[in-house]
Symmetry: C2
């Protein structure tokens, strides 16, 4: 067995079981990839792929497991190369961050600024996606770090670090009647049309569960992955908005009034995660440090946590 066989295997698995596409991605010809797969299957003594005629159509049960170990083997060899790069050159390289829109827009800017001042020659990439996509990106080494609230921390192939806690705030136009209440309750919230996040993003599951447990049904008139979209529709009078506390920015959102809702919903924890077999280069470790330092300044609306 050798590493090229494993990278070929992964490429084919990632390209819908198309050897041609995998070959293209690897800058090789079809036949070479085909041979790698054949040799690998011959050595292992089992079919990794399910074939319909000559065409590949999926992974066999054993193949699924094999791909898993192949990913990890490759991750480990990549780690070795990264160690080398860390020794030679401590200031060049790249940093690929996976983040949801909320993180990228409301949390990352000061971190990124501090980081790029410290490492001006490091190429920074922000990859956006849903929490589930971010987990996959981290596992498949499409990003170095993923930052979000959901889905991380559960996957066995990721190391996750708790970063900061947050809860929700209500935003509304200044003339909205709900702002006259001295105490906002879940029942009160149900009386108004609500704009908030879609399922899968920024604590939506926990949000909806809180109503369900109280046997209430909120009127969600619109949901979006993106806090900015929510704000826009609140401004347009579609209803009240319920967003993550860190997404309300006084200087830009002064036309909207906010109210803390942390007495109504469980606290959420945002985490940073990376692949278990991954060696983090010095600047990547430093980014995590800077992130933790920066979010610890958000005390007003959230509590920072230490490493798990």
């Amino acid at each position: 067995m050798n590493l090229k066989q494993l990278t070929s295997l992964i490429a084919v698995a990632e390209n819908n079981f198309s050897i041609s596409h995998a070959a293209e991605q690897l800058h090789m010809v079809q036949s070479a990839v085909s041979q790698q797969i054949s040799r690998l299957e011959e050595e292992i003594g089992t079919q990794i792929f399910i074939r319909k005629g000559k065409r590949l159509s999926g992974l066999s049960p054993a193949g699924e497991e094999i791909v898993h170990y192949a990913y990890r083997a490759i991750a480990n060899t990549n780690s070795i190369l990264e160690i080398g790069r860390d020794q030679i050159n401590q200031v060049e390289g790249k940093l690929r961050i996976g983040a949801t829109h909320t993180q990228a827009q409301y949390i990352l800017p000061p971190v990124i600024k501090a980081f790029s001042q410290e490492y001006p020659n490091i190429e920074l990439q922000i990859h956006q996606g849903s929490p589930k996509q971010l987990v996959n990106k981290a596992i498949h080494d499409e990003v170095d770090l993923s930052i979000c609230t959901e889905a991380l921390g559960e996957h066995p192939d990721l190391v996750s670090i708790s970063s900061y806690r947050w809860n929700r705030v209500l935003i509304a136009r200044p003339d909205h009647p709900i702002l006259n209440l001295s105490l906002i309750t879940l029942e009160q919230l149900c009386k108004h049309p609500i704009v908030t996040y879609v399922y899968g993003f920024t604590g939506r599951e926990v949000f909806s569960d809180a109503f369900k447990q109280a046997l209430l049904k909120p009127k969600i008139v619109l949901s979006a992955a993106d806090t900015d979209v929510i704000k826009t529709y609140v401004r347009n009078g579609m209803g009240i908005g319920i967003i993550a506390s860190m997404a309300y920015k006084k200087q830009h959102d002064s036309d909207l009034v906010f109210r803390d809702l942390s007495h109504l919903f469980p606290w959420e924890t945002t985490k940073i995660a990376y692949q278990k077999d991954k060696y983090l280069r010095i600047h990547q470790q430093r980014f995590i440090e800077l992130f933790q330092l920066t979010v610890s300044d958000l005390k007003a609306v959230s509590k920072p946590l230490g490493y798990q």
Copy 2:
């Protein structure tokens, strides 16, 4: 980079940094291994080994980390091969168990018997060692599974499964005065010479801590790694013995009297552990099952636990 370079690296690291010995182990000539290392260091761009003149004398700091990832990469590729073997042949193979003397002598026999009836063609090996050695054997894939009470469960590169709980019993010659007591206390134990386990084995640390916390100092006249040695010296009248409960066997130890001491010491948990990146073949998984089933029959003296 390729896998042969990594196996060469590991072989050199495991052979006291001797390229010649590593080459011998790998059935290659010195120069070939030397070249592998050179090429690897060239690609990584760093010295992995510390050299005194031409001779290798140790690992550089980066080298230490590299070796760690190399082990894991190799473990993952081995796992892939094992998956293949599982597919082809479900009844042949081998099973290498690491265990302390106590486990091998008092717990394993019925498990081994059941296992070898089920898989008569599987070669069974029992590797004995201290808990620390067993951890290393598991990490370096010298055994498939390690079974003991100490040291497992802490190491980040091992998966550990809790198996059964046990405590200690006192053994003494029938004429020993301590047997006249209705309740044995730590103070009473301190009045007599004691024979028990050495540090590092079978709960000795926890045993000694119990006395220390009570500000007592037991008279340990002899300590051994091996319950049989302890019994021999108790029989010879050197003192009372304090051993693990599962090591007292009525049929063979009828010349000694035992007393339960579980009111005096914390309970211990024996665990099974294996390397994280290791794929366990079907028969190896089955061995764990058989082990768990067998120890759950030890209820009289211990409580079985589920998977962690």
